[in-house]
């Protein structure tokens, strides 16, 4: 049995602390900024001593931003809702379409299967603007411009290839014999997919869903080009704090804290699945 010496444990503790400090310090600093006014943030030299205030969060939540030139109306909470709605719905639809497709690509060998799978992956290669300008014209013609439905459809360009290709790898890693045994016991293809393949690939599907959610959440350009101001996600909305009359650092920091909170919470919750899921596909048996 392997034992750990005291020195080794201390060194490991120090190393972990250093790593945590390194990665968490920017977030901690941003959190501190979110509790300060612009004036205290811009002090020369910077200081960690200040009187904390929730005014930045209040401004974001009420939608009334006080700037040098007066009160500015902002829609940050609306942007946050848009991000949440667009990302969640897109990933849900992406999972609904992508997981069965991934299973089909993993298990069923049919003519052109690789070509189709590669075509779907190639959506990720195209520069977004190249796709978006023609799409703007088509969307206007078919009435999808400036609609949530249109945006969710376009978001499939981000989430679907990601889900399909990641989940396909997990399905391929599950020994087919397990499924054959279940089929021999008298169960049909659909039941095998639901009862055997899906549970076994569960961590992989969770990891793919989470990654797709993060990618969708961070998207910027699709809604900017295809939708009006009221349907913009938080990635565009956050830029509202950079104004001609100055940068509202405090509100930007508060906005960052609020906007990373959902992905942060989701990542913490699904951390086990994420690690398990990502490492499962990494090693071929």
């Amino acid at each position: 049995m392997e034992s750990t010496s005291l020195i080794e444990r201390i060194l490991r503790g120090i190393a972990i602390t250093v790593v945590i400090l390194f990665f968490m310090f920017p977030i901690f600093w941003i959190f501190l900024m979110s509790l300060q006014t612009n004036e205290t943030i811009l002090r020369v030299p910077p200081s960690m001593v200040f009187e904390p205030s929730l005014q930045n969060y209040r401004a974001l939540i009420t939608g009334q931003l006080e700037t040098q030139t007066g009160t500015l109306e902002i829609r940050f909470m609306g942007n946050l809702f848009n991000s949440f709605f667009l990302s969640t719905t897109s990933v849900a639809i992406g999972l609904l379409l992508g997981v069965p497709a991934a299973y089909a690509f993993a298990r069923l060998k049919f003519r052109g299967s690789e070509d189709i799978a590669f075509t779907l992956l190639s959506f990720r290669f195209a520069p977004p603007l190249l796709v978006l300008l023609p799409l703007t014209i088509y969307f206007q013609q078919i009435g999808l411009a400036n609609t949530y439905g249109g945006l969710i459809w376009v978001y499939q360009l981000i989430v679907l290839p990601l889900i399909l290709w990641i989940v396909r790898g997990y399905f391929e890693d599950i020994p087919a014999d397990v499924e054959y045994a279940y089929r021999i016991a008298g169960h049909d293809f659909w039941a095998t997919f639901r009862k055997i393949a899906l549970p076994l690939a569960g961590p992989g599907i969770a990891a793919a869903g989470l990654l797709a959610f993060i990618f969708a959440w961070n998207n910027f350009i699709f809604a900017l080009v295809l939708a009006s101001a009221d349907k913009q996600p938080v990635t565009v909305g956050a830029l509202a704090f950079i104004t001609a009359s100055g940068i509202q650092y405090g509100q930007i920091a508060a906005g960052i804290i609020l906007s990373i909170a959902p992905t942060f919470a989701l990542a913490l919750y699904a951390q086990r699945y994420l690690v398990e899921g990502l490492s499962l596909g990494a090693v071929k048996g």
Binding site: E39, T69, V225, I242, A244, G246
Partner: protein
């Protein structure tokens, strides 16, 4: 309710009483300044409705605007109800942050979208939008008395600003020439002058610089006085926007230009003249000795924030940036002062290059006549006066607004030297660049070369020769040389 107050406002608009009587009368009635101003603005709108022009010709029509998030937009939105009441039209709008605004505009126009009828634009951008056929020549509306109200008074728009929005579309064509198309109409504009920290200057016995040599010296002295801070803020990022504010304003004051236009219309680089070399050397020396340590990353935001936070002693940039930074929420609020700046000691007056926020009409709009009603209202004297008096529509583009006593007093009360600065430099204010399709690429390359000079990677003389050679080859490649 408010009958007496309304009458007072209407008498004032009809010029039956003066401003002093209006203020006295409103005070006697217990009306706040803000309400008085709103009443005057509403009275001006009613007066506009009675000028014989059929403002309701497009009643019931809805138009949609694409707007940049800016104090000018705030002024527009704050006064929108008056336009709706005047015309019976509805106005919808999308406001996007400036960082992504032009991406949105370009996407909408290049996809020939009819969603937006009109939008805010910079004058430089119309050099791309106009020749591409994305925006309309507004001369056909301005010059048509059946479409334009008799009180519009186009000549009231400052000449340099008005002409800077007009171009004939020929590379090198003079802005505002007789055959120029009016691609946009100014809402307001920025001149590039000096904003300095009066507290720092007074405490250290510094004088306001009056030419390039004294600017270099004062910046060095200010840096010593500032301790942790630095002497002068100017932009330095690898972008065309580094060249257009203070740099080009000073450069053009020496009679220098970016390009030379030959008699046959061909263009060639003009940055490697002796005068230009001298100017570049001094500018580079100033940044090396007294500029921000991270100058090469500085954009509008850093330059403004630093002067507002007391990190720099002065800046040579947009006057309205200084105006914003002198407001509440900045450490140096109230300490900033303004001065017109003439880089060339032998020049008669300052010649600031300008940035203009203007309104343009989309060629893909399906409601152009109705849209023009909005454009003439929002760029007209009534709205400009409202914006200047009650909001932050600085610098308004109309001379009648600059003559308004209330506006001048408002500025003078809180912005030391602003009115004088404007009056001195406005006659020489215009766009100093040569209008041509490679504007953004060539000017960005100029900024990149400036960065190399400041970093000491290349001597000024050699750098300017390299720049001129590259510019000439690109012009030749594009068939412009």
């Amino acid at each position: 309710m408010y009958d007496k107050e309304k009458q007072l406002a209407e008498d004032f608009v009809a010029k039956k009483i003066g401003r002093r009587d209006l203020i006295k009368g409103m005070s006697a009635l217990g009306v706040t300044t803000a309400l008085a101003s709103t009443l005057v603005n509403a009275a001006a709108t009613r007066a506009l409705a009675q000028n014989g022009f059929n403002w309701r010709a497009h009643e019931g029509t809805t138009i949609k605007l694409l707007l940049n998030q800016h104090p000018y937009t705030d002024a527009m939105i704050a006064n929108l109800e008056n336009f709706k009441a005047l015309t019976g039209m509805d106005v919808q709008y999308d406001v996007f942050p400036e960082d992504v605004y032009f991406d949105k505009v370009t996407a909408a126009l290049s996809s020939r979208s009819s969603e937006y009828d009109a939008f805010m634009s910079g004058a430089y951008m119309t050099w791309t939008y106009g020749p591409a056929g994305w925006i309309d020549d507004l001369n056909e509306y301005i010059m048509d008395p059946s479409k334009t109200n008799p009180d519009y008074n186009w000549e009231d728009v400052l000449e340099g600003v008005r002409k800077s929005c007009a171009w004939n579309g020929r590379p090198g064509g003079a802005l505002g020439s007789d055959d120029a198309m009016q691609w946009c109409i100014p809402l307001a504009y920025e001149q590039n002058n000096l904003t300095y920290n009066k507290r720092v200057f007074d405490a250290n016995g510094l004088s306001v610089p009056t030419d390039l040599d004294s600017l270099v010296d004062t910046a060095a002295a200010a840096k010593t006085a500032m301790g942790d801070g630095y002497g002068i803020g100017v932009r330095g990022s690898r972008s065309w926007a580094t060249i257009h504010p203070g740099f080009l304003s000073g450069y053009s004051n020496f009679g220098q230009s970016d390009l030379t236009v030959a008699g046959d219309g061909t263009l060639s680089a003009a940055m490697n003249t002796d005068v230009s070399r001298n100017f570049h050397s001094k500018w580079v020396e100033m940044i090396q000795n007294s500029g921000a340590p991270d100058w090469s990353t500085h954009t509008w935001y850093q330059v403004g924030t630093d002067v507002g936070a007391g990190k720099s002693a002065m800046m040579f940039d947009a006057d309205i940036l200084g105006y914003f930074m002198n407001g509440a929420g900045n450490a140096e609020a109230g300490n900033l002062a303004f001065s017109a700046f003439k880089a060339n000691p032998d020049a008669a007056a300052p010649t600031p290059n300008i940035w203009i926020w203007a309104m343009a009409m989309s060629s893909f709009s399906t409601k152009k006549d109705a849209t023009w009603y909005f454009l003439q209202w929002v760029t007209g004297p009534e709205h400009q006066l409202f914006g200047a008096q009650d909001m932050d529509l600085v610098n308004p583009a109309r001379s009648s607004v600059w003559a308004d006593e209330m506006f001048r007093n408002k500025l003078s009360a809180s912005y030391s030297g602003y009115v004088d600065m404007h009056d001195v430099s406005a006659p020489g204010a215009s766009i100093k660049f040569t209008a041509q399709p490679l504007f953004f690429d060539l000017t960005t390359e100029w900024a990149a070369m400036l960065q190399r000079m400041v970093a000491g990677e290349v001597p000024v003389d050699e750098g300017l020769d390299m720049l001129a050679e590259s510019v000439n080859s690109q012009l030749a490649e594009a068939g412009l040389r």
